[in-house]
Symmetry: C2
Subunit: 123 residues, 2 copies
């Protein structure tokens, strides 16, 4: 099995924000490429690659299992409806590839630790 | 010194998203009320309390030192301009209170660990 991570952000008209997402995917590569040999970033809208293209990049790189990581804070419409719909529609093109969608990062049990760490660093 | 944490999110027309922020502030209370006896949530727009009112709540509770935690992923205009401007304008009303603004959570060195943990939990 060849595992891939696909970090999906909303996408912004502000190029710097999109670049921050791409750089975060680069950091993920440095940290966990042993476990996830394929790592890409993609966007729901306003920036490229969009989700279907980003999934295709993972598959073209040889992924047989893809975890989509929604870089979203809240479980709003984008997370509950838009991303699953796009992923499901794209998934049909790759019947041999397993695609799972992680919870949005706001739901992580580590978010509290992250916030406390950020507060402590500010004191 | 009486320390306060003020979690600031963008605010949403979707009440559930705002509630998630309030619940996150509640979790912060459970986790670190020893170090930060005063913890509140507030919003940049679209939900109440807005930042000035939320800062007032901290001061009314006795805070002499407030750390504003921007619950934002990217260092966009809201984080770079809007929140500091509102905080600075409000700060003038409380000359005896020290107010600092933390980095947005997307800048945390723990974000990578959070993403990897979220991916692992999805496998």
């Amino acid at each position: 099995m060849m595992k891939a991570l696909l970090l999906i952000a909303h996408g912004s008209r502000r190029e710097q924000s999109n670049l921050e997402v791409v750089m975060l995917a680069e950091k993920l590569k440095q940290k966990c490429s042993d476990h996830y040999p394929i790592i890409h970033a993609g966007f729901l809208e306003l920036a490229l690659p969009l989700i279907p293209e980003a999934l295709k990049k993972c598959v073209d790189d040889g992924a047989t299992s893809i975890i989509v990581l929604p870089y979203f804070l809240n479980s709003g419409r984008h997370v509950i409806e838009d991303i699953p719909t796009i992923v499901n529609n794209t998934e049909r093109d790759y019947p041999d590839v397993e695609i799972k969608i992680a919870a949005p990062i706001g739901a992580s049990h580590l978010m509290i630790d992250l916030l406390i760490s950020s507060a402590n660093a500010t004191e």
